[in-house]
Subunit: 372 residues, 2 copies
Amino acid sequence: MKRSFIREILESIDSETISFAGGLPDESLFPVQELKKASEKVFENPKNLQYTISNGITPLREKIADFYNKEGFDTTASNILITTGSQQGLYIIAKYFQNTQIVIEEPSYLGAVNIFKMNGLDMKPIVLDNDGIDTKKFDEAYKNAKLAYLIPDFQNPKGSLYSREKREEVARSVSKHGGYILEDAPYSELYFEQKSKSISSQIPDNSFHLGSFSKTLAPSLRIGWIRANEDIIRQLTMIKETIDLHSCGIAQHILDNYLQESSRYENHLKCLRDTYKAKMEIFIKALNNHLPDFDFEIPKGGMFIFGSLKGVDSFDLVQKCMKEKVVYVPANQFYLDERVNDEIRFNFTYTAENEVQEGLKRINRAYLQGGR
Amino acid sequence: MKRSFIREILESIDSETISFAGGLPDESLFPVQELKKASEKVFENPKNLQYTISNGITPLREKIADFYNKEGFDTTASNILITTGSQQGLYIIAKYFQNTQIVIEEPSYLGAVNIFKMNGLDMKPIVLDNDGIDTKKFDEAYKNAKLAYLIPDFQNPKGSLYSREKREEVARSVSKHGGYILEDAPYSELYFEQKSKSISSQIPDNSFHLGSFSKTLAPSLRIGWIRANEDIIRQLTMIKETIDLHSCGIAQHILDNYLQESSRYENHLKCLRDTYKAKMEIFIKALNNHLPDFDFEIPKGGMFIFGSLKGVDSFDLVQKCMKEKVVYVPANQFYLDERVNDEIRFNFTYTAENEVQEGLKRINRAYLQGGR
């Protein structure tokens, strides 16, 4: 198995390197004081330090269920399985479906691709456009696979957002052929305009909707969840408890305390959206100024700007960039065949404005040295 | 796959039921104030809330390595992989060795058996005596499998402790045939007399030594680790990061802060050993008084008393006990073939003295109703 190039970069870069590589949130936005307060309460009851149930503590599952109910997507705590990040959610589902076929978007999230490989899933890639997957090709492939992995909101790496029509078409394919979709939704709350209706809400019994607090609160909590029908959640819980008995209880209780004031989280999300939108605009301005040959679509949310430097091998270029002390993720990492390719994924949420300017100047220097 | 009967019991019992079932620590001994203090420091640095490296934060791995060094077992941070409880450590190793053979003790830990099944490991059970595995039969089976899962210290469920001779014989078999052992050591610090030398320390490159803070500090931290040779740790890290990227960072930082004063943890362990020894003696006295037909060995550490009610189907009896509002784990759960069996595992660490008395009286009542 190939290691995640992104995680290799994350682990090897020094303090002088400017990183547009990882999908990292802005650390200055972590609500540290409020999480600290929430954590203090955890230690008031020793029972919070004991083993707990495998599907996750009930009050937290209830609060997550309420996120869905507020959007008109009927959900109870029994529809929710707490996982160690949505990464583990994907792993558990892949284990459940092991050695079958799965339709994926191309490009797609490398962490998911590695999970699918590890569990013997035969991946059928379908091209992803800026308004979502090619739905004709999707229907053709889904007919056989009856399983698909999609990131409809601000996709990783493409930043693309499915149109309403494409959401409906995907849901129709699933209804027609049976089977399931895995709808990975870690960026869904990070919209700049408005929230899109999930595909899962249209096919509640034929979907796994994966959520996470990693992009919206703090990654190190490592708390995500799966929303699925109750029967399947019961089966996934058996896999979950075999893997690690249950996810960190302390992190679950911290979150549960934090979410007790619902306006607190909502206000935090508003602040995140505004700040990330401003950071995206700064990044785009800097791209236009310092890397004018980069061709991209303006994202409507999420954490990434995706585009291309025409004719450049972006994997080759990143090696030169590393010497210039700046990194991004070259898009060959997101294709199953790792084809040579001129596309680049930039993360715009992690770095400060001065780093964005300086980092993009360095990339342009490496790019121009390449003979262009 | 069969769900853990133990976890089913844990999730279904009501507040009036006295439970000798789970391997639960005494909640009154959790060092809540000190863990609270340690947790406050975590939120002083927002970087602690960010994604971290997959093998676990370096200072914590260094401190764990020092546990080994103090016992003369040379270890560095590169030999350690932090996992979500030692349960996940087992899962990762089983994934690494999937679809091969493995020698196990019989009876053995059901959570491990489920992991082995899920990863296609063909289990070869060898009878476990009170001073360890039958080493002749072990050598015979190990010769082919070249992989074994052992719990030498205060085994779950048997409470047995390997003699020095049997430890050496097992190490000799491994040296002779090559291959590996998985030495599961969650109870090793809970000795009542003296600490035994691990088998792994005699075969450092051919062993996985699994440790955990779940039995010694707090289960809900969900932090355990694997000690193995550096090359293998690198390969296991790739599996680990595919499963969940990394274990809860907040729990890792809490632990790291807590362990910064090394005497604090050592004093806590001393207190645990003294208290659990006293609780064991209370339990034994109560057994002799209230369930005089129960035949057992006195454990030298750990959390369990294992024995038999001659001629009784202990699985049948526990159904009656549940109606009397008391539970234990019937030993058929710990045998691959779930054979009808008169053995019982009692946990003695969780319950208070009055519950022990009352619980054992209730079991005796159910037992006598059974016609004995």
